[in-house]
């Protein structure tokens, strides 16, 4: 028995160490990590500054997926050439970011702000209630338009610009243009947030407010305005992630995307440390690599359904046992 296991392990190891295998796993890991960082960074920023665990974050991603798809379905016509689709695709991403930023800001001002001074349980119940409302509304709208809430929106998938659906060879491995785009966009999002937090006055306010909101207010900073900006931008990022997931064959626009992405976002921010953007980036890399490695193992060697998800959650459990505050977490964050 032990000999058989050893042989199987050696077989997996030999296969894994093939240059093509490593490149494939790394590419898959990078694209997944990029998606996870886009999904989770908004949640992390919101918790870091405001101490609010936004359960509706996944719903915002799901709405972003449908919204991005809708912009393309409405604007792209059958005979439209590549460059025009290319431009419309970026406009769809920008429009989704704008719309979700506005929605997030409105939610913060009208629903969350009045309960800042209450127990955290009120915020959890409120955002959980939002999940039910937003997901049910999405289900109604989707069904009214003749779509199945649990099936991917095929008509929207067909509007993708050519560069997303084409295949390219990188490091000897053939990969979708979409995956390369995800890596690029994820890197841009990380660099953008990093620059915003470390190079701008408002970013400095947000970092200070994350540590001690009361002290920050006493220095003349309107922290509540920062709350609105962060909640809005966090929602916008969730929307952008959704708009990209819309065309990703591993995801696609469905109503349950809401819960799927919320789970991933929570796993990433908990591993990274609640409220730490640096932790979110590192954790997204860890989760993306684990997911990619386990997906490869499942597809090639271990026919065990749910293996990637199970191992990802085991990583979460392991981190929580060794370092309960997460890799880069601090004892206390956020507040009002």
């Amino acid at each position: 028995m032990i000999d058989l296991l050893t042989l199987a392990f050696v077989d997996v190891l030999i296969d894994l160490l093939q240059p093509g295998t490593i490149a494939r796993i790394v590419l898959d890991a990078l694209s997944k990590s990029a998606l996870y960082v886009m999904i989770a960074s908004g949640l992390s920023l919101i918790f870091g500054l405001m101490g609010v665990l936004n359960f509706a974050h996944g719903s915002l991603t799901m709405i972003g997926a449908y919204l991005g798809g809708a912009v393309m379905v409405v604007t792209v016509s059958a005979g439209m050439n590549g460059p025009a689709r290319f431009v419309l695709f970026f406009l769809a991403i920008a429009a989704t970011f704008g719309a979700l930023t506005l929605l997030g800001s409105a939610v913060e001002v009208t629903l969350i702000r009045p309960i800042y001074d209450r127990e955290p349980l009120f915020q959890i119940l409120l955002t959980f209630g939002l999940v039910l409302v937003l997901d049910e509304l999405a289900r109604i709208v989707v069904e009214l338009n003749g779509l199945q809430p649990r099936s991917k929106w095929q008509a929207a998938i067909g509007t993708a610009p050519v560069f997303l659906s084409n295949w390219y060879t990188v490091a000897g491995v053939s990969t979708r243009g979409l995956y390369l785009f995800e890596v690029l966009l994820g890197a841009l999002v990380v660099a953008g947030i990093w620059a915003f937090l470390t190079r701008t006055r408002y970013g400095l306010y947000i970092r200070a407010g994350s540590e001690d909101p009361e002290m920050t207010r006493a220095l003349g900073v309107d922290v509540r305005k920062a709350f609105t900006v962060v909640f809005g931008v966090g929602a916008g990022l969730a929307g952008v992630a959704g708009a990209v997931l819309m065309w990703d064959p591993r995801f696609g626009a469905t109503v349950p995307l809401s819960v799927e992405t919320l789970l991933v976002a929570f796993v990433v921010v908990i591993i990274g440390g609640l409220g730490s953007f640096r932790g979110t980036v590192v954790a997204a890399g860890i989760v993306g690599l684990t997911d990619a490695l386990m997906t490869w193992l499942f597809q090639n060697h271990v026919a065990f359904p749910g293996l990637p998800e199970m191992v990802t959650f085991l990583v979460l459990v392991g981190v929580l046992i060794v370092r309960p505050q997460g890799l880069f977490g601090v004892a206390e964050v956020g507040g009002h």
Binding site: R201, Y205, E211, D212, E214, R217, L219, G220
Partner: protein
């Protein structure tokens, strides 16, 4: 704004933590350029008085006026922007921000931030070598210097300083006293301090707080020798 109004005036201020009635009608006034101590035993409401001025613990009754303008009920950030600097108890550094970033947070949005930071570092040269270090990694004395510099860098003319000597070694306390003594000439100061001799040395006048009320006030020079009062109100 009234030209001859006190820089700070509290009139019958009542403040609570939940149902706990902490300030029971505090009256005090600090004239422009004056240095005033607020003394009293632990738990009599000194810190709450400073928090009430800043709107962090908003008064339920009474009023707080800055230069004659009633600011009761205003948001904390609006009160701070009127030129009120706060050096809180236990310093409350942004521990994960550098010393320089701690100072930059406190500058006014329309100010020349770099110039203001340099001014603050000129005033506290010991901090210059640590400007890029996380404030949380500094010693208690260095953190106190940052806290004072941070309160000044926003062009504030009224400083509320809460227990600056708390938790510091005697030698460091002397440095903090020097620093406060230097800047006390240029600003209006309301100092909360348990170290009674130090408070009297740094200030012109004092208010003695007991059970949330001002029970005594006078010149700091006169009270320094008044052992009976020290014994009655300040001894543990």
């Amino acid at each position: 704004m009234s030209a001859d109004a006190p820089a700070l005036e509290l009139d019958g201020v009542h403040s609570y933590y939940g149902e706990s009635h902490v300030l029971r009608g505090v009256d005090l006034a600090v004239e422009r350029g004056e240095n005033v101590a607020l003394v009293g035993r632990n738990g009599v409401g000194k810190t709450t008085t400073l928090r009430s001025i800043l709107g962090l613990t908003p008064p339920r009754e009474g009023s707080v006026r800055l230069d004659g303008v009633d600011v009761t009920g205003e948001e904390t950030h609006d009160i701070a922007r009127r030129g009120v600097g706060w050096v809180p108890e236990e310093r409350r550094m942004f521990g994960h921000l550098s010393v320089e970033e701690n100072l930059r947070v406190a500058t006014r949005p329309d100010a020349d931030t770099a110039a203001k930071v340099e001014e603050a570092l000129d005033a506290f040269p010991a901090l210059r070598d640590h400007r890029d270090r996380d404030a949380g990694d500094l010693s208690g004395g260095q953190q106190q210097m940052v806290a004072i510099a941070r309160a000044l860098v926003g062009d504030n003319d009224l400083l509320l300083v809460d227990e600056p000597s708390e938790g510091l070694a005697p030698q460091i306390v002397a440095e903090v006293v020097d620093a406060l003594g230097t800047l006390a000439d240029d600003v209006t100061l309301l100092l909360v301090e348990q170290n009674f001799p130090m408070a009297m040395d740094l200030t012109d006048r004092f208010y003695l707080l007991d059970h949330g009320e001002v029970v005594e006030s006078g010149d700091s020079d006169a009270v320094s020798q008044d052992d009976e009062m020290i014994r009655r109100y300040l001894s543990a």
